[in-house]
């Protein structure tokens, strides 16, 4: 119905185990998060720019951190269940 949850998304979520999802797309998202966090530290160094210039990166880093927290909590919950 929306761009976030389409039929394809639903089918993918229902046809894969959570372990499978979190070790594929989950790892990719976490990898991107780590990369952006690293770039965030590099950006002021290599460009000599002010800290405020990392706002564009924060725009992606914060959502990915929320996703990361969701993944970790879900994995722990699965282990506890």
């Amino acid at each position: 119905m929306t761009t976030t949850v389409t039929h394809l998304t639903t089918r993918t979520l229902l046809s894969n185990s959570y372990d499978g999802l979190s070790t594929t797309i989950g790892i990719a998202v976490i990898g991107i998060l780590a990369l952006l966090l690293l770039v965030r530290e590099f950006a002021p160094l290599l460009r000599g720019s002010a800290p405020g210039d990392t706002r564009a990166l924060d725009m992606a880093i914060v959502p990915l951190l929320i996703v990361f927290a969701t993944i970790v909590i879900a994995r722990m919950a699965e282990l506890l269940a």
Binding site: I27, L37, L38, F42, L45, I61, I71, L79
Partner: protein
Amino acid sequence: MRAFTQFGSLLVGAARRRAAPGLAPVAVASRLRAAEGLAPLVVAVGLWALAMPNVDTTRMTDLGLISVLPPQVPLAILLIVASAAWHLRRDSVSVPFLTLHLVALVFLLYAMPTVVEAQPRFAATYIHVGISEYISRTGSVAPGLEARFDWPGFFILASFLSQASGFHSTMDLAGWAPVYLNLMYLGPLALIFRSITRDTRLVCAGLFLFELTNWVGQDYFSPQGLNYFLFLSIIGLVVTHFRTLKPASDRFREWLGARRRGARLLTSLYSLTAPEQLPAEDQPPQRQAGLIIAIVVIFAFVAFAHQLTPFFTVAALLALAAFNRITLRGLPILLGVVAVVWVSYMTVPYLSGHLAQLAQDFGQIGKSVGANVSGRVGGSPDHRLVVTLGIVFTLSLWIAAATGFLVRFRDGRRDLSMVLLAAAPVPLVAAQAYGGELVLRLYLFTLPFMAILASGVVYGRPQALPSRLRTCGIIAVCAAITLGFLVTRYGNERMDIMTTSEVLGVQQVYKIAPPGSLLVSPSGNLPWRAQGFEQYTYISQTYDILAGKPADLVNLMRTAGRPHSFLILTASQEAEAELFNGMKPSEWDAFVNQIIASSDFKLVYQNADTKVFELRSPAAAAPDSIADGTATMAASMQATPLLGFGVES
């Protein structure tokens, strides 16, 4: 190094003087002064070297190594400390001279057990050697076998190093671990200390105090020992190269000043919480980028090699970033992500069995502190004294650190970074009891910062050189610290020592017992699992079995369903039972006699410190579980209390 050169040139000079009597008198005088300076060091090392061979560890009491140490040993240590303290009274101090003293001090303090004991100490050392041996032999890790395989970095590195350097086994690396690890710590520690002061006197005093108060004994051949060095390196790099010069924001200060009510109070409070720091060395951005990558790579190894250190590192960096002490504000988040990813993805075999218990312990501060402090004060009277002394020692250092901070504060110096680093690990106590060990780790991770702050009591004001009287006072305090160190660090030595007889006895077990056998012991305090890690089922049953009848033990061994079952009793287990459980020697002897008299056991091997019994007519084995080494070890994981976060690693 310069002191070595001075010493060498002095000897050469003496020779030359004979040949050329007309040598300048100034040069001669300076060389003589150098010789005078080094004399106490030479005497101390000589005293120590002559005294150590006379140590008879078999006569050790529950007070540990100090009960058999000749008085020359503490005297030698004190001589080195006194020589350094006297040198620190000078206007200009010689770094090589102090370095030489520091190296000698490390050797004298930490090489003691290695010199007097033929085998590496600590039962955990043998387990670590066994894990490395497994990795060398199979070329893989086995997370299902043991929790420590979930953080295999240290073992893989040890295995690689032992093979690359041509050692027979990683055991060869284990013996001298406390010495080389403590020497390794000095580098990053100096970096950390120099980030708050350019005063060599204070830096050196901090280093000496660190070595004199590192009594918790985590610097053995263990993941913790190595990862502590990496922790110090990361902190050292960050506070040296990425500290903010002027954390206080002018604009924020202006904004505060614009508020009328309480503006002055707010501004002064803000200035207190965000004091200026020493300027960091100017570096090209490329080098800084390289350093960031190095920090991340080092941390990735730490996350891969130890359970606790990553979280202590993140807590420390988070504290620095939160108070604007470093420019790398996002680094703690990045490192936190790396640490959590490792735990949540790569330690599933461990977590699946322990997560519920870990979650239960979370936030139980009272329980955690109880397990770490009051839970440890027990056992024999001498042992209780050792533990109490450890607590007093710890509290004294922390009080001294607070005093040192106040001394420097009054002098206009705000060592906020050190205070933050010292305070950062404290909240982790709420997260886990870590098998009653977390307070020890807390002490370890706060020690460098407490040491430099405590050194501030005497050397906190660079302009004020300590008087003769004060230096004598320092030496007296150092004498007390040295004695305290010897008692607290080596207080459990009766139990920690692994004699050659025990090691040979356990090696004999591996010759007698066919793979797939069950090996049982009253506790894990014996040098086993250094070989055939996956080929046997190990059960260390705690001392409850000593109170029961041999029949209970027989039932336990039979229900395991192994074709061969062996019971191993060693002297170090007896020592542990006496030290920690308050058991009398006669009770242990009675237990051993019961086993000997029992018709269910057959004595198959014995030497001075080891007795090995085989269970007669064990239960028929379940063939599937015997064939599968993993299954047998998984069974032992249920029974072995050593495993999990309570491991000594």
